[in-house]
């Protein structure tokens, strides 16, 4: 993925984000038809971010840079031959014309034949005829990458080693471990089934990830104590006293009264949130944006509350139970 441009000063933040993305979405259907030319993957979850929100002109800065996860379709290229490519891509787009309409696409070059040449201009034009917009290439040799650059495409680093996805038979949730599969088995599958398999896979991975990194505290967090959950969520099954401080790289959940300080997303995760059963915090902070007790929205005091970051402002919202 391209370098993560965020408003956060912390380099670690980028690293964290990147890791999470790769671990969570590190999968790919293996849908190869070696006899085919450049064949097209079904929309596969790819990460990409580059999201510039432009503020209305009211004296505020006219732009800001934010990191975001955007699903992207990757067109994985085995080799390139204009005629066959055009034929294949037409066949694909005709299956779902709406889906491909003005679709941004990344060209995956990990499987591209060694020493093969790739006329990017032809490739881009062939795609454009099907109203597909090529925005970047991923992986590939230095030579290919510099050619892509000249053709005005963005460059993404090579995808890590992926694992193949399990077959439909092994995809039921009670069979958790993905297994290596033969291509033959995969070729039998319909795309719908595979999409479901992927979803299950993603959910499972996310759950596993959270299990590994969440920190659960059963005791009250007392005045003067500090609890930090690095790399994940912090869950406190009691109250957090005034004068105590709880911190997490991820979200914070307090199933009691939050009377102390709570800092979520301390490495800059702007998506982190704070949830508590009763809001009476001295200070809350998400990704460095903070509010002290007297600035906290009066209407949520003593109530079940979630705190999140909306652009650069902390928002307090009562949780309706």
């Amino acid at each position: 993925m391209s370098s993560s441009l965020t408003a956060e000063p912390s380099a670690e933040h980028e690293q964290t984000n990147t890791d999470t993305m790769q671990d969570s979405f590190d999968f790919e259907r293996n849908e190869q038809h070696p006899e085919n030319g450049g064949q097209m993957n079904e929309p596969s979850q790819e990460q990409e971010q580059v999201n510039m929100s432009v503020a209305p002109h009211s004296g505020r800065p006219c732009m800001q840079l934010k990191g975001a996860l955007v699903p992207m379709t990757v067109l994985e290229l085995n080799y390139f031959e204009l005629e066959q490519f055009t034929r294949d891509i037409k066949a694909k787009t005709s299956q779902a014309p709406d889906f491909f309409d003005n679709l941004p696409i990344v060209i995956g070059l990990e499987k591209f034949e060694e020493n093969g040449s790739l006329p990017f201009k032809q490739l881009i034009e062939a795609c454009q005829e099907q109203s597909i917009r090529v925005v970047a290439v991923r992986g590939g040799s230095e030579l290919l990458q510099s050619a892509a650059k000249q053709a005005g495409l963005g460059l993404l680093p090579k995808q890590k080693e992926r694992q193949t996805v399990e077959t439909a038979e092994t995809a039921s949730p009670e069979l958790p471990e993905p297994s290596e599969n033969t291509q033959a088995a995969q070729q039998q599958e319909t795309p719908t089934v595979q999409t479901q398999v992927e979803t299950v896979e993603i959910i499972k991975k996310v759950i596993q990830k959270e299990k590994q990194i969440s920190k659960v505290v059963h005791q009250p967090v007392r005045s003067g104590q500090q609890v930090y959950a690095p790399d994940g969520d912090l869950i406190v099954l009691a109250s957090v006293s005034a004068g105590a401080e709880i911190l997490a790289d991820g979200n914070i959940h307090v199933y009691g009264s939050l009377r102390g300080r709570a800092l979520a997303g301390v490495k800059g995760d702007t998506q982190a949130r704070i949830f508590c059963h009763s809001m009476a915090a001295e200070l809350v902070s998400i990704a460095g944006q903070y509010k002290i007790s007297e600035d906290i929205d009066r209407s949520v005091l003593g109530k079940p509350t979630q705190v999140y970051l909306d652009k650069d402002a902390l928002r307090f919202k009562e949780i309706d139970l």
Partner: protein
């Protein structure tokens, strides 16, 4: 097996020593062989409250340093059987309490006593940490006001993290809340935190509520722990607390303003009308 109970609060002047005197007396009156140790080295008070300051020859620090035996330093209470006092040194400071020394003294006491009550100094420094380090149970003395509650919360955190039980990952120290100087009238007027508020903030089990009473000061000055005076509310409340500490059920008393005040006001009102 002796039970080691620390009486602590974080904040000073909330009634740790008064409570130590009454609770240890109460335990002894109920037939338990009890010793109360003054950990407030340099600010020795317990012997005054227990009316034995003129009999102090050797003290806790002397025993730790091997300058006296435990039997030489222990003072037998004249008012109560089964009760002994180990006074603090007035001429030393709290650094004289070494962890090994304290442990040795406690181990020796544990051989003969049922209850070892440790009267902690105020604060969260070395003296207070030594007093709570070996505790099996803790009585947190709190006044119904915010700074006292905050300090109690702090000391609860230290109990959870710096006691021997915490360090060895044994069962945690059993925590009891003792709310002292409670005035139901002032709570009703909104001038004082209610017992429910304190319980909610500290989230520990309530051992007892000692009502504000003139008898407490009188008894401290005269060197007779207030639990001896079972005519007073404070004496009765301490007695209840000791029963609960020994694992018996007792309903909480003295939590509401007394009704006779109403008739008094009526009478007063009609007299002045």
């Amino acid at each position: 097996m002796a039970k080691i109970i620390v009486i602590t609060s974080g904040k000073g002047g909330v009634g740790k020593t008064t409570s130590s005197a009454s609770i240890s007396t109460g335990l002894a009156l109920k037939g338990n062989k009890t010793v109360v140790i003054d950990f407030d080295v340099g600010l020795r008070n317990l012997d005054l409250i227990m009316n034995c300051e003129r009999r102090v020859v050797y003290d806790f620090v002397n025993v730790i340093n091997g300058e006296a035996t435990l039997n030489q330093a222990l003072i037998k209470d004249k008012q109560t059987d089964n009760l002994f006092i180990l006074p603090a040194s007035q001429t030393r400071d709290k650094e004289a309490l070494s962890k090994e020394g304290v442990e040795q003294v406690l181990n020796e006491l544990a051989e003969t006593f049922d209850y070892i009550i440790c009267d902690s100094p105020a604060g969260i420094e070395h003296g207070a940490q030594m007093a709570l380090y070996f505790a099996d149970e803790a009585i947190i003395v709190t006044n119904p006001e915010v700074s006292s509650v905050r300090d109690s919360d702090r000391i609860l955190g230290i109990l959870q993290s710096k006691s021997r039980r915490a360090e060895l990952a044994l069962d945690p120290v059993k925590e009891h809340l003792l709310l002292t100087r409670y005035s139901p009238e002032r709570v009703e007027n909104g001038e004082m935190l209610a017992v429910e508020d304190v319980k909610e903030i500290l989230a520990i089990k309530l051992l007892g509520v000692i009502p504000e009473s003139k008898a407490v000061l009188t008894s401290s000055n005269s060197g007779v722990p207030v639990i001896h005076d079972q005519q007073t509310d404070a004496g009765k409340a301490y007695d209840d607390a000791v029963e609960r500490l020994m694992g018996r059920e007792r309903p909480h008393r003295f939590l509401t303003a007394q009704k006779k005040g109403f008739f008094k006001r009526m009478f007063k009102g009609s007299a002045t009308a």
